[in-house]
Symmetry: C2
Subunit: 467 residues, 2 copies
């Protein structure tokens, strides 16, 4: 690699190609080719999401990609928010279509006309479904792999409920799921209630999970939206209560995009390349035979190890000829494999294996009795260490700032007192180039004075220059 | 259901909605909503394909959906074959795009410009990749769920080789994979080398796997194409041999679409609904407690059974209150669950379980010792019986026909002698409404006279009215 991580953005752009995640040479801006290794990571993450969804009584569906314009335009704020970044299909072959079709930028407007057919009475509620699909946004800003792309690998859960309180409970369930999910990604996050002007188009409120990249810039990696009855009124999704009265359903959504991979790359990686959390690594353990001498014995032993280990862990035996161990180490470090096992004549003689952790780059030896169990413990330690380390790094990038110049001079996220007015928010934005991420969901209010106007306030908020 | 299977097409159209596979009310022609049960089947099939692909050294990728027009149009036959059935994106928001983007109808033209970057020397070959994505075709004919749709769930493998012979070997590997795959689907098929005028646009030759639906109409459910150097020349995919000479790669593709689900529904189903092969059934075993008396004991025992069984098989405990066992039987038969277990006070007392097979509708009892193993054997028997039965049904729909009137009067596929000329093929088509499916790949030629012109020929072919 030419760039060190201190030059974060260049490091990021290079590492994702060098580690074999995507190929950016596809001839459409913001659309990349998922390479086998990158796609394997995406699929592991998808499977983690699926398990969490199934175990919380969600069902998986798949809605069509194309949305007729009249359906797309029913909710006013939504069409205003998304209209400009939609790809439109106007013709099939040379034939103009009767009605233009939008490539889904998100699936509310594909799903909700159908929800209105599915839901009749309270017995049909709650409706909890999700899908994992690609969505499309005509981004005009600079694109960046995983972080800002035009074809986005996307998870979206949609739920319908009898009451606002039930929908609120759903958001709390989503927050629980999100916490479990992020543990597996070893990613820290802040939960910010977005200011009104920055909520999802059509939402009553939006909670965003923001993490902070090593550049100091926050990255939105997950969202939970409370829609109240905004969409159900536009799409006429009604139900009959037990007492016979009719009402519109209350809705929520929960979304995670491929940005999560951008965060994993950016937050965990180092100058040698990726560092993947064991929970999502396509290869958790790589075995490298050291065949300077006694080649046959070593290869036989390495193969035996592989056969035993691969029953329990996703693993790979790198028995490539014509490559030095040093080259192989470099290669698997670049790809972020959490644990490397080296096996040479000495290890065999001493009945041990040598292991090398990608997170700490530390080498140690493990005795062969019950070694599978010991390796499992090391992988758990790696996962836990990555989680802690990432959290500490994130907290280091958050600063209590007391005035606009402090905000401006700090490459990171600032925690400030804010009176809540749009005027003061605008002043912050104009002067510092950062913007209001929102009111932290789980932090206590602190009494202070608005950093701009000096008004007394209990409101604390985060500001940053989001990707 | 209103329609019996004797009225096949109507039966088909109803059963797929009643069994919860898709919702056809989505407001775009030929685009349906995958419901949880249908999507679970699709995903099980995808996973079977993935395993077969990984075990034959293919790697999974994901290419962008949108293909720039200039890339799309490079191979002449291909653009001629697909040009009219492509959805085009001409604008993002209100902004006209510099170059129109095609929604992939298949991915040759998305992948091959990138292959030309990936492949440098013989060391990069063979390249064996696949993806499972949705593709889009602007069908103008009548649409039918799974069989003719505009958004198609699709598996496509693409390979590049050093020589024509290596590419031929790949086709033979594909045929092996296909056989294993179809065993799991319990589906029979004919392998037909399509006539020149009906091969894939751009292919050197096309082998199609056709099955026959109960209506007597053949359905193409899989294809393997030999491209030779047709695409590599258009897309400049070259490699350097060991001796330093340069050549274009030889390519093949292998494709399977959601039509496979149409075949499973149509070929295995009966008047009560679907019958799913155990290998792909989302629920392999449903347990229905019979709680006419001793309710608590029965429910406890049913739950215990479920806990044991679900460790080994995909299973479901139907302990819904307020539904009779009869209603539950009806429901799970409609959904095609291969095996039902009934457990009531008598079964508990006699230390047995009562099992009911969906394929034969026969009930029997199984003693409780080692019952998991016995159930596994029954599931294997169901899979095997379905496979055999479907094959017999297919063979019954093929007839040796000796003249045009016999072909015309027969609702099925005809095996005929044909001289190979386009003229005679046209006459068959015009007179009978059926067309040439192709030359059977694995059947011996038989000496005879062309059914149309009377010329002596060794060529045998199949004709039918394909979906």
């Amino acid at each position: 690699m030419e760039h060190s991580k201190s030059d974060f953005n260049e490091w990021y752009n290079e590492i994702i190609e060098e580690a074999g995640l995507v190929d950016k040479r596809y001839p459409v801006k913001g659309m990349n080719v998922w390479l086998p290794y990158g796609w394997a990571i995406a699929r592991n993450i998808d499977e983690i999401i699926r398990k969490l969804m199934f175990s919380s009584s969600h069902q998986e569906v798949c809605f069509p990609l194309l949305i007729p314009k009249d359906q797309f335009a029913k909710e006013e704020e939504h069409i205003e928010g998304f209209g400009k970044e939609v790809f439109w299909v106007d013709r099939g072959g040379d034939t103009p279509l009767d009605i233009p079709l939008a490539l889904r930028p998100t699936s509310e407007t594909a799903m909700y006309p159908i929800f209105s057919l599915w839901i009749r009475t309270h017995a049909d509620l709650p409706l909890k479904i999700f899908q994992i699909v690609n969505v499309f946004r005509y981004e005009t800003k600079q694109t960046r792999a995983f972080i800002r792309v035009r074809e986005i690998h996307f998870f979206e859960a949609h739920t319908c409920h009898e009451s606002f309180e039930d929908a609120e409970k759903q958001i709390r369930e989503d927050l629980d799921i999100w916490e479990k999910f992020c543990e597996k990604m070893a990613l820290p996050y802040m939960l910010n209630v977005r200011p009104d002007w920055d909520k999802f188009a059509g939402a009553y409120y939006s909670i965003a999970a923001d993490t902070i990249m090593p550049s100091g810039r926050p990255l939105q990696i997950g969202t939970m939206h409370q829609y109240k009855q905004n969409f159900s009124k536009a799409y006429n999704i009604m139900f009959t209560r037990e007492d016979g009265t009719r009402d519109y359903v209350y809705q929520t959504t929960f979304g995670i995009s491929e940005r999560i991979i951008g965060a994993i790359v950016g937050i965990h990686g180092d100058d040698r390349g990726l560092i993947l959390p064991p929970e999502i690594a396509p290869i958790q353990i790589v075995i490298v035979p050291i065949v300077t001498e006694e080649k046959e014995l070593v290869l036989r032993e390495a193969k035996k190890l592989y056969e035993e280990i691969s029953k329990v862990f996703r693993s790979k035996l790198d028995d490539r000829e014509n490559y030095t161990p040093g080259y192989k180490f470099y290669d698997w470090e670049l790809k972020g494999v959490p644990l490397r096992i080296e096996i040479g004549p000495k290890d065999i003689k001493n009945n041990i294996i040598t292991v090398s952790r990608r997170d700490t780059l530390k080498r140690s030896t493990v005795e062969r009795d019950n070694y599978i169990e010991k390796i499992g413990m090391i992988l758990n330690e790696i996962q836990e260490n990555m989680r802690k380390r990432a959290k500490e790094k994130m907290l280091d990038l958050i600063k209590d700032s007391k005035n606009l110049d402090e905000i401006k001079g700090h490459e990171g996220v600032d925690k400030i007192s804010w009176c809540g007015s749009v005027d003061c928010a605008k002043k912050i934005e104009e002067y510092t180039g950062k913007w209001i991420l929102g009111i932290p969901l789980n932090e206590k209010n602190e009494h202070g004075k608005c950093l701009v106007c000096g008004k007394e306030t209990d409101m604390v908020c985060f500001v940053g220059k989001s990707y």
